[in-house]
Symmetry: C2
Subunit: 244 residues, 2 copies
């Protein structure tokens, strides 16, 4: 675990400037925020690449434009996250790099076989990531929290996906069974990769535990957070007309 | 040629609203503008897809973000063009559809084998399309002209590509020879597909010839336009340090 943790530290090597909030005086906190912004940034870059692949499978030009527009929104935020990483004294590439492997593993294990699996993955996967990062954002300084919430705001694909998927299931009920299984697989794979990240990124995990002057989560609170994430996932599957 | 021409006419079937400029009273002109906006729209959608593929080949995260950002810019304009097509009484999907085949043929025949060919194609191909549409825009009503110029403004990738390509050629001069050949192939294939479009889209060609109240180009003027396009292409190749 050490190499990954020290890579995070070197990513923030030159330290934050004097204008930064008090919280960044704690190098552990700074390293955790750098990790978090790097994870969100690579996640959105990766979502862009996958949505662009989905666009290629679109059954109509209107659908292709809709999914390409979703892809464009993902990438528009990456630049803002990278600028913030620079302000924090981190190298944006170094900060994002540790999340390349887990995100590519997630995508390699959840490669959509068709347009419908791609749609469900974009909706369910992005919303799950958004929920998770919002939970974490509650423990951060105001500037970082607002950046994260703002960055994640634009990535809801709900209306478009719900409309397309419910219509398709109405026309072919067997599709509903296949997509329900697919949703479970997405959730399982997301948890697997999240666990892998947690095992490798000490600073990120320490962030959740809190500090002397910072509130954190005990194990029971982490359990409640996962219960909330699962509940919202089930609600989204229900919105799509799918069992979870 | 008839089926394609009548498809264009049906794309603008319901006619323009009363608030439209005088020029749209001519159904031939209206059909030509619908064709043109459809061509530019599908061109940008297609450029988005190709740039997204290029992003996957990027040698670093910074390069991946840069190319993904270029891709996002392409798609951000497509929605504006589609809205305008709707205002003109055309179905945006029908207006864009005729240009899917020639654009996909162009891309199938110019598939970049690596990151460098992708960069040169993005720069040279997009700039060539932009120059061409700007030439045509000079013959259009003010609203359409401004929309086209505005839509094409954002797609210059010059600085980024010139920087990367000239650096790479300095390190490996043989790359320059290969990319010079590649630039010639791009130009040749673009002309082939443009000719195919010209043969199929009567309204678009009629637009260039002018009308009773509209100036147009005679054959000599078309020749001069192609001379200008070729000259600017040669200048861009020179900017990249490549023979044309």
């Amino acid at each position: 675990m050490e190499p990954a943790a020290s890579a995070a530290a070197s990513g923030a090597a030159s330290g934050a400037s004097a204008a930064m909030p008090e919280a960044f005086a704690d190098p552990q906190y700074l390293a955790a925020v750098v990790d978090l912004l790097g994870a969100i940034g690579y996640g959105q870059l990766s979502a862009f690449e996958r949505l662009a692949e989905d666009a290629a499978m679109a059954p109509s030009i209107a659908d292709k434009v809709a999914v390409a527009t979703l892809a464009a929104r993902e990438v528009n935020n990456v630049t803002r996250l990278r600028e913030r990483l620079g302000e924090l004294g981190a190298d944006p590439d170094e900060a994002m790099a540790p999340f390349k492997a887990p995100l590519e593993a997630f995508h390699a294990h959840t490669k959509p076989r068709d347009w419908w699996e791609g749609l469900v993955k974009a909706f369910v996967g992005d919303a799950l990531a958004t929920d998770f990062y919002r939970e974490i954002a509650a423990f951060l300084d105001v500037d970082t929290r607002e950046l994260i919430i703002d960055t994640l705001r634009d990535t809801g694909h709900a209306e478009f996906v719900v409309d397309r998927v419910t219509t398709a299931i109405a026309a072919d009920p067997r599709l509903g069974g296949r997509l329900a299984l697919w949703g479970r697989r997405l959730m399982g794979e997301a948890l697997t990769q999240a666990q892998r990240v947690a095992a490798e990124r000490d600073a990120l995990v320490a962030l959740l535990s809190g500090g002397v002057d910072r509130p954190g989560m005990d194990l029971a609170a982490v359990g409640r957070m996962f219960a909330r994430l699962t509940e919202r996932h089930a609600q989204r599957m229900a919105d799509l007309g799918l069992d979870s």
